[in-house]
Symmetry: C2
Subunit: 358 residues, 2 copies
């Protein structure tokens, strides 16, 4: 087990070696480490080698300009200057929060950015301002729209963080595909099949082969086929794509220039990076803050205390498992997968930073 | 087949007999008829008897006050005064549009309202102002959260309407449950089973019995079980519930006082009606309107022209089938189901309005 601070310091050092300022390196490390703590390790340190490769390939700059291209009292468009999402996204979320202070709500679309870690990190930033936070982003095209033979949309996550009063906040943070690409990678590395209904092969036929994403296959939309509401999953993932990328002018859907080696690049697409969308809403924008907090406490308790099906302990409030995991891992330490370990060793070698393999 | 104008006039007369002004009766008829035209007949004239019953039971007023309780430059809370959603919702959407004109975006939460027809109607109202429209509402508690034995959430629809340039708009309008309650009613009336994975019985066990909602059963969330992302569907439906009802102070989740006879009422719940949430965003809030429209045209064409799986004609852009249906039914007429016909005959009898059974 690694201690939080050991992994944090190592990650900060890597980002500093890439040329980030100390402050920005700490910010970037905080985002990846938050994913580790919250047990969303698919978006944690396992991604560090991807960031390093993007930097080696000169696809990202580590000192990006943050340009507000256009704005209204409650909105702004930001050009992230081909910077790491981990640098640009925190600033964009702050801008949404600042807008909300005066306009009640703030909404910021970002283009020319790259992978930003867990969406929930930014949504949760709103909580400390007594605001609701919303985050969306588009990603590598791996999800097949209903009736499409190929993957055209990202796993496009949404995060919504909502403060409560005495209860901890409601924090939903989920890929809009039924599983994330990271989960399928884990099935593959463990030699397991993926549950039925989640994947299709390069002809659009159902498959459980966990290596299929590397072989022209795609994830299906949330719901699966039409009879089970898969077209609603297509709508949802599309809305995230449009809010993130069409609002901002980033590359949308299949025109996203992949950061994954095994996703086919559409030759000739202009690269405006991926897009993000951030929202902040003051909790007193509709009722008083006290009424809102009392309402959320009541909502959370009502669902947490609901009668569960036999064999299950309770209905899980979004954010509960991740918060428990944070407390546990801060105390007991963080275990890394073999893939993460190999990646960190590799990165340590590139930058000549010591990394202790436990 | 009935002509559009015959059914519109009949519906307007019913609302006038209930005491609505001519203008509001026409507005209400327009919403229900739009559902018929768009082939969302589960939210069309089949609902008219439900509205009449709510009025007979004195649960709704037909001359509600529309009170703005609280506001910021981009938001407002409206108390709908226990009015029909068909009267209150159009005004609330207009308020969101007015807010967006100056603040860039406008967001209105409504409490003390009732069923408002198809969510898409209001979202589409934004299109004529070169705005994106968003609508949510909560509804009768029929959807079981992941691990819950009972239905606690509504089928809580979301609609998002996004203008394009030369292409028709993107209009997604969907219950966040895998199927709507109306669809299960249709399976039941046709004596058909409901596809596997969509329903659970009064112990939370899977069932295909289409009468189960009347017998203590519930709909499952979009995705189904955890392995297929059902907890994401739970998050999504919860977010709609919170935005619609906790933001506004309406009755949330299982505390919604049912409008369906077969949903158990939670004794003693204070009745603040159901809640809606409306959003309007200027398309030039992020980029110029011209850039936005060009981007949406490109998005729509990219997906419409994608290679389909064998046996399917093309990927369907949200809104395409409904728009085609509108054109067809305006020209060829509207067929009513036996349930709709019986309901309209009944309503005609109550108000002594002629209704011709074809």
């Amino acid at each position: 087990m690694y201690s939080y601070s050991y992994l944090f310091d190592f990650t900060q050092s890597v980002f500093e070696k890439m040329g980030l300022s100390t402050g920005e390196a700490r910010q970037a490390a905080d985002i990846l480490m938050r994913a580790e703590l919250r047990n969303i390790s698919t978006h944690g340190l396992v991604r560090l080698p991807e960031y390093v490769r993007l930097w080696q390939d000169k696809r990202i700059t580590v000192t990006p300009e943050f340009v507000v291209v256009h704005e209204t009292p409650s909105t702004a468009l930001v050009d992230g200057g081909k910077g790491l999402g981990l640098i640009t996204a925190p600033k964009a979320m702050n801008l949404a929060i600042e807008k909300a202070k005066t306009a009640g709500t703030g909404w910021v679309a970002v283009r020319n950015s790259y992978h930003f870690g867990i969406a929930g990190y930014y949504a949760m930033k709103a909580l400390e301002h007594d605001m609701i936070g919303i985050t969306m982003t588009n990603t590598n095209p791996l999800v097949a729209p209903t009736y499409s033979k190929y993957g055209m949309l990202g796993t496009n996550p949404i995060a919504v963080a909502i403060p409560a009063g005495e209860e901890p906040p409601f924090v939903a943070d989920f890929a809009t595909s039924p599983v994330s690409r990271g989960k399928v990678d884990v099935f593959e590395s463990e030699g397991k099949d993926t549950p039925d209904g989640l994947l299709q092969d390069n002809q659009g036929s159902p498959t459980i082969d966990s290596s299929i994403l590397r072989n022209g296959g795609a994830l299906r939309t949330l719901g699966g086929d039409m009879a089970h509401g898969g077209h609603k999953g297509f709508c949802l993932t599309s809305i995230v794509d449009i809010f993130s990328a069409v609002f901002s002018g980033a590359n949308f859907g299949p025109t996203v220039v992949p950061t994954l080696g095994y996703v086919k690049d559409k030759a000739g697409a202009e690269d405006n990076g991926i897009g993000h969308f951030f929202g902040a809403m003051r909790i007193d924008a509709f009722q008083t803050a006290a009424e809102f907090k009392a309402g959320m406490d009541k909502w959370i308790r009502t669902f947490r205390e609901a009668e569960p099906v036999d064999g299950k302990e309770r209905v899980i409030i979004p954010g509960d498992p991740e918060r428990k995991s944070e407390a546990k891992k801060m105390k007991e330490g963080i275990a890394l997968s073999k893939k993460s370990l190999d990646g960190l060793k590799n990165v340590a070698g590139i930058f000549e930073i010591p990394f202790e393999v436990l």
